[in-house]
Subunit: 197 residues, 2 copies
DNA sequence: CATGCATGGTAGCGACTCGAAACCTTTATT
DNA sequence: AATAAAGGTTTCGAGTCGCTACCATGCATG
């Protein structure tokens, strides 16, 4: 009998708690809750399709109502900016404000973690990443959650040339850096397949 | 430039969020918050030295005041029992009640996760465990948090015979199963190597 | 077009979290 | 005996969070 999966769960859970404490600490000066800090961090990593309340709520595992509350607060504090989408005027788009960026720069919510991995060989980290990524994919597939991946590995991703990319779903050209951001339209580049829509 | 640590952070964070959602779902029937479910799960894994509000608060990253609130609620609902320690009457000890155990049995808060790791080879899981464990240890050392490990690997652990064990710090004899539970008195066995069972 | 309905987001409600600080009781130190 | 320290509880106020209801905008049909 192997209990490794159980232990892995325990570790992820505990690291999650510590990360949460860390976010709490990072936001203490500005009276921010962990979820607020997470929201700000998310904005630094989300691509152009994923900077909406909806996507954020999915990512953080909250309802849209709850998300709306938190975003209202962040807006009042001037840490984010909200603007309407041009094409669909129901959609609200989000971006970090200058002071939001400043806050993240000062608080460094992730530094403690980065520091904690310093003694682990890149190779072992990559292995861990691979195992966790697979777990995440399976988990999301089981629970019908949005996938949230980046372009490489997405079935909509198209490479036009050495340095030009394109999202086949939305039809936009993408810059190199943007292909590494988080996208909630991500779909696994499945083998055969059932495709949606 | 290698961004793997960053990606690892992202994965742990996201899995942590999903786990949290999962706990929320598991507790919904009984009107329990995620933290309540976590507390109950903790009790199934804590050894005799670690079933106190103090240890639990450390583990979950909360203050003792907050912890006290949650435990009060769990006690009112009859999911846990609280009793005084014999030796130190300041200390409160906790245990799952029968209905607490029943709740965990019914809600299976961890099943979704267990299921999500089904396709990953035991070997890769063990590697991931090892990397995360090391990260956890470093993180805790950096932040002076309680270590929270199990007997194997603890400097206080003594093996009396093939099947008899002892905690050198507290002086108690321990049963085999108990040596695999979570202990907040854990201290890294300096120098020597870490081996897995 | 109008009607209907789905979708993205907001508002209000109530139960609960959470840290901070003050407090109580028991144990440890001197 | 006096004082300090440690484990827990209480109280307070701001905020989370799911829920339901609600308001716009967009998208179908006919």
């Amino acid at each position: 009998m192997d209990k490794s999966p159980e232990v892995l769960l325990e570790l992820v859970e505990r690291l999650g708690n510590l990360l949460r404490s860390e976010f709490r600490r990072a936001g203490a000066d500005e009276q921010l809750q962990p979820v607020h800090v997470q929201a700000l961090v998310y904005l630094t990593r989300a691509n152009r399709y994923s900077n909406t309340p909806q996507a954020m709520a999915e990512y953080l595992g909250l309802t849209k109502g709850t998300m709306s509350q938190s975003l209202l607060l962040l807006d009042r504090r001037g840490l984010i900016e909200r603007y309407q989408d041009d094409l669909d005027r129901r959609v609200v788009r989000l971006r970090l404000s200058t002071s939001g960026e400043q806050f993240l720069y000062d608080a460094q919510p992730q530094s403690a973690w980065q520091h904690a991995t310093r003694n682990i060989s890149p190779n072992r980290i990559r292995n861990a990443v691979s195992a966790l990524r697979e777990t995440l994919t399976t988990f999301q597939a089981d629970n019908e959650g949005q996938p949230f991946g980046s372009c490489s590995g997405c079935r909509h991703f198209e490479r036009l040339s050495a340095r030009a990319f394109r999202c086949g779903l939305m039809g936009d050209r993408l810059s190199g850096p943007e292909t590494r951001k988080i996208c909630w339209l991500y779909e696994e580049k499945g083998g055969g397949s059932d495709d949606e829509e």
